[in-house]
């Protein structure tokens, strides 16, 4: 195929279509993770994220994060228009590193929690949630 002007435009357009939207969504999540960890590697370990498998109403989805050594836990909803959900910081009077809250989910997606542990390392846990009615309004 000759690289004419028309072909070049076609190539460009299809590349954007193929990669544009999902890449954009994951970049925002990745950026949020990178900001939180400062670029450090994220492993698996001492962190548990509890979320329902199926949420009928995306407006209020109960979630729980639990860890035994986390100092800070960030929760991200990867499929929301803005992925950040909340950041929990545990102080000296916190008995456990568990917390629960209720969040909004725009649609079926993965909810991700990232914790900074006492030793400075980062761990990640995720949970897929099916949402019947999205919670971000039209």
């Amino acid at each position: 195929m000759e690289l004419t002007r028309r072909n070049a435009i076609l190539l460009g357009a299809s590349a954007v279509l193929a990669s544009g939207l999902p890449a954009l969504a994951s970049t925002v999540t990745d950026d949020a993770i990178a900001t939180f960890t400062g670029g450090a590697a994220v492993g698996e370990g001492d962190l548990k994220l509890t979320a329902p498998e199926i949420a009928e109403n995306g407006n209020t989805v109960p979630i729980e994060v639990a860890s035994s050594t986390a100092v800070e836990i960030m929760v991200l909803a990867t499929g929301n228009p803005t992925p950040s959900v909340a950041t929990f910081k545990f102080g000296s009077m916190a008995a456990t590193r568990n917390a629960s809250t209720r969040i909004r989910l725009a649609g079926t997606q993965d909810v991700v929690a990232i914790a900074k542990l006492e030793d400075g390392s980062f761990v990640q846990a995720s949970s897929a949630v099916k949402v019947t009615i999205g919670g971000c309004g039209g």
């Binding site: 803005t82 909340a86 916190a94 969040i103």
Partner: protein, 109 residues
């Protein structure tokens, strides 16, 4: 200021020294996400509570940053140590600058 904001906190009245207690908090707030549109198609401006803290006798228990993805009437549940009698101080910070506060004292016994 968002209207009808009412903090509600559930803390046991007393505990044994060194006990771990569960605290539940809820504040009525519409948590407008800034994503929704009104009937004319205009975006409704964001109006949420962006930070919640809980302290016991001046020492921090939790400090939570809230984003628009937190549900209406933000609810939190967490656990705290009670080494001595004292007072829990709860503070919510609104986007518009308002601060809502609640205190609960706990006795040892």
């Amino acid at each position: 200021m968002a209207s009808g904001v009412k903090p509600r906190v559930k803390v046991p009245k007393k505990a044994a020294a060194g006990d771990v207690i569960t605290i539940k908090t809820l504040i009525s707030h519409k948590m407008e996400s800034g994503q929704r549109k009104d009937k004319e198609g205009n975006v409704i401006p964001r109006s949420i509570i962006n930070r919640f803290t809980c302290d016991f006798n001046g020492e921090n228990v939790v400090d939570i940053t809230l984003e628009p993805a937190i549900s209406t009437n933000p609810f939190f549940e967490f656990e705290a140590k009670v080494p001595e009698a004292g007072e829990f101080q709860f503070t919510w910070y609104d986007d518009d600058g308002s601060v809502y506060e609640a205190t609960k004292s706990i006795a040892i016994g």
